[in-house]
Every structure is written in C-alpha cells, then in structure tokens.
C-alpha cells in the first residue's frame, strides 16, 4: 500500500496503480479462454470484469490479463455469444 502524503499530516491512503494488491492471478482455479471466432467484440466482458483484467485492442479484440484475473467467471456468464469458456488450471 502506498502512503501518499498530500499534506503535512499523514493518513493511510492508496493510489490507483496496476497490481496494487499483488499478482491476484495466483488465486485463479479456472481460466477464462476466449474463442476469437465466436467473439462479436461487444465488450460486455470488459465492462463487467471486476478486476479490470480484460484488455481491448485497437481493432476491438479483447484478451485476458492472466497476471491479475482471479477466475471469477463473470465474463463467461455475461458473454452473449457464449465465446468465453472456463478451463481448469493445472
């Protein structure tokens, strides 16, 4: 946690940054895998991901940031074209 100091007196504050809570990808038991052939690039998965662990490319393609994805499966639940499947880790 960052101890930001905005004045003379300090309180515990955190600043937003990538991976502020560490490599949460280690928590994952099931890995979401996108089938690019079925993906319609609607970006609902990107919108719903609670961890911000889905990235979007310039062409509209999406991909998972596995360092931080906790494997909650919300992306798979909300995907209208059923193009995200959950694969057991290991």
């Amino acid at each position: 946690m960052n101890k930001a100091k905005t004045g003379r007196a300090k309180v515990a504050l955190s600043k937003p940054s990538e991976g502020a809570s560490g490599l949460t990808g280690l928590w994952r038991l099931r890995r979401p895998v996108i089938d690019p052939a079925k993906c319609t690039k609607c970006h609902l998965c990107w919108l719903y991901c609670p961890e911000g662990a889905i990235a979007r490319g310039a062409d509209g393609a999406v991909w998972m940031i596995y360092e931080y994805c906790k494997g909650c499966g919300i992306c798979s639940e909300v995907c209208p074209s059923k193009s995200i499947s959950l694969v057991k880790e290991g």
Binding site: G7, A12, L13
Partner: protein, 389 residues
C-alpha cells in the same frame, strides 16, 4: 450586545467561521442550532450548502465527504444522535478530518430524558476528537470560531467537538457579543485544501479507508497521538490570539478562578461552573479560601495543568456530571491520575438535576471537612433523595 441562547450563539459562531457545508439531523435540545443556520443560509446571510440527511450517521458521513473535498464543515447533535453517529465519529477522528461539531450534552436513555449530563460526549472520548466544554453562551460562540482554528492547524489536523449543557446553556438566553466578521477572518484563515490529510483531488486520485494490516496500523495511530501532544500548545495559542482579537478573556485548556492560594479547589466543568464561581466568592467572603478550576478542554486532557493549579490545596473536590459505571466520575478519575494527593469525587447533576450555588458551597465545605479527617479519595453521590414520594 445582543441576547441569544447558547444554541444561537453557536449558529452565529458557525456563520463567523464561514462554514461552507452543514449536514445535520435535528434532535432536542440541539435543533435550534441547525434551524438558525438553515435560516441564515436561506436568507442569504450565510453562504453555505445545507445538506438534509436522514440520520446523524449520515450527517457525519456527509461532513467527512465534504471535508475531503476541501470544504469547511459543521454539524451538531446531542445524546442519542451522537451515539448513533458514533461509528462515523471514529472515522472522522482516525481519518483526521478537521470537522467541527457542537454537542448539546443530554442524558442518554432509558429512562427517557432531555436534560443535561456530560456522559454522552465523554463516551466518545477515545475517538480521536479534540473535546472542549463551554461555560456560557458567549464562550459557546467564541469556542465555535476557535475550534476551526485548532482543528485546521497543520500541527493538529484533528476534528473538534465542543459541548454545551442542555437547556441551562442551550436554551438560556444571555448577553452575547458577536465576533466581528473582520476579526473572525483575521483570526481564522480560509481552509487550505492542500493541507488536508485526505483531499479528494480528481487530478490526483486516492483511495481512503481501505485495509491496513497490523504491520503499519500502530505507526499511523502514533501520528495521531503526536498530533494530540502538539494540540495543547495550539489550543493555548488560539485562546491567546482570540483573547487579543476580541478583547474577551478566552480559556484554552483550563480556567483558573481564585485557586492560587486556595485551601479547597473545586474542579468543575460546563454551565454549572458559573454557579461554582459564585459559590467561591461567597466562601471567600465568609473567610474560606476557596477556588475553582474549570476543565475547558477534555481531550487532550489537561492533567498537568490541573495538577499545577491545585498543588497547594488541602482538598480538591472534583464534580462530575457524568459517570463511568464500575469505575467512577470520568473527570474525577482521569484528573486523579495526575494529582499527588487523592481528590474527592462528587457525582452531581445526573439527569439534569440542578447543581446550585448552594450545592457548590456545601461541596467545598464537605471536601475541606473530609480532608481534615483524612478521608480522601472518596466518591460521593451528592444530594441523593431516595425513592419515596
């Protein structure tokens, strides 16, 4: 010179301090404070945002949010309202938001009561707030302005709550000299948002109040402890500066009244301290060397200051209008830990029963007689009546 109730004296103080956000919920006997503020805002005499909330918990939450955005904030409550607010009182204290709050001291139920007792505020004494207690409408007015200066001082940056006794101060109308706006502005500079420990600046986003493990919590708490250590000097400095600015003697940590050569000193607090002073004068006229020390600031506790003021006395009578069950009078017990000689602790005025001039006179005489018999360190519930009739 005007006539105003203690409550309205606070409202006028909030106006003089140019508070910018007021979030409050009404409760007897505090309601007059926020009603008057709403009136002043509506009439354009005061430029502030009044946030109507559905509870005291939300009132303090709104104050914390507004303060974090750099606004000078105010709220007021009493008794059950303060108890309901308690969770956020700790958030404000530990989060170091320099909010100012007036607490009209009222007995907590059951049985239901609207009259004065100090236990409501004292129950919040470990919340990280600087706590003060007023003795007159004039002092309530002046303390309101002083409170912002202390809270926002960069050596302190902690919230301040100050108390005034229900009805005997809150609803009693007295002579009041208002602080001129220019005097208030000279004494109290505008709040500098950059100095706030938590400042919500959209260009520099931060998260406040998230998880902190045992590895660092103690260090942050220790910073608050240090701020309270510096607060004593800041309070005395603010009292001195406001005395000079207003021409009225302001009290910071304690008020000393004829105690320097006193054989018996009464330690008093709140509205009844005036009755105590009248009693001291009567006793002096009768040839008894009496004095009074008044606790103006409760946190940081002026233990050393009290001890030095009562050093020469044969008897120290501490009058508590509050009680910690299974422990004793709260001020009595706290002060006792600083005194070399055991004081006598008088529990009086519980539930709003008057502590009269005559009561204080008899307490002083009782304390002297007890000291002569060598009976010190005793707690007495003063003026008990029994249940008959």
């Amino acid at each position: 010179m005007i006539i105003a109730t203690g409550n309205h004296a606070v409202s006028y103080g909030v106006r003089a301090a140019r508070a910018e956000v007021i979030a409050a919920y009404p409760i007897t006997p505090q309601t007059q404070i926020i009603e008057k503020l709403a009136e002043l805002i509506q009439s354009g005499e005061m430029r502030a945002k009044y946030i109507r909330v559905e509870s005291e918990h939300s009132a303090m939450s709104a104050c914390i949010g507004a303060e974090a955005c750099g606004a000078r904030t105010f709220t007021a409550t009493s008794s059950h309202g303060l108890a309901y607010m308690s969770e956020m009182v700790f958030w404000a204290g530990m989060g170091r938001f320099p909010i100012v709050m007036a607490v009209v001291n009222r007995t907590l139920a059951p049985p239901w009561s609207i009259w004065n007792e100090h236990t409501d505020m004292l129950a919040q004494r470990d919340s990280g707030w600087i706590m003060m207690m007023c003795g007159s409408a004039q002092e309530a007015h002046d303390t309101t302005v002083m409170a912002y200066r202390i809270a926002e001082d960069e050596r302190v940056l902690q919230p301040v709550m100050f108390g005034l006794d229900a009805f005997s101060l809150s609803h009693t109308a007295e002579n009041l000299e208002l602080i001129d706006q220019e005097v208030a502005d000279g004494f109290l500079p505008p709040l500098n948002p950059e100095s706030l420990p938590v400042y919500m600046d959209p260009d520099n986003p931060v998260t406040f109040g998230n998880l902190l493990g045992p590895d660092k919590m103690m260090e942050f708490r220790h910073l608050i402890k240090e701020a309270f250590g510096r607060a004593k000097g800041v309070i005395e400095e603010a009292a001195k500066d406001l005395s000079n600015a207003t021409g009225r003697k302001q009290h910071g940590l304690i008020e000393d009244y004829r105690s320097s050569d006193a054989e018996v000193v009464i330690l008093a607090m709140g509205a009844s301290s005036g009755d105590c002073k009248d009693a001291v004068d009567i006793l002096r006229d009768e040839g008894i060397k009496a004095g009074m020390v008044r606790v103006k600031t409760i946190r940081p506790f002026p233990g050393e200051e009290i001890a030095s003021s009562v050093r020469g006395a044969k008897a120290v009578a501490i009058v508590d209008r509050d009680y910690s069950y299974g422990f004793g009078g709260i001020i009595g017990r706290e002060a006792a830990s600083y005194l070399s000689k055991k004081p006598l602790n008088y529990i009086a005025g519980i539930g709003g029963r008057d502590i009269t001039v005559e009561d204080f006179r008899k307490i002083a005489e009782d304390a002297l007689a007890s000291a002569e018999r060598g009976e010190l360190g005793i707690e007495k519930w003063w003026g008990m009546r029994g249940f008959e009739g």
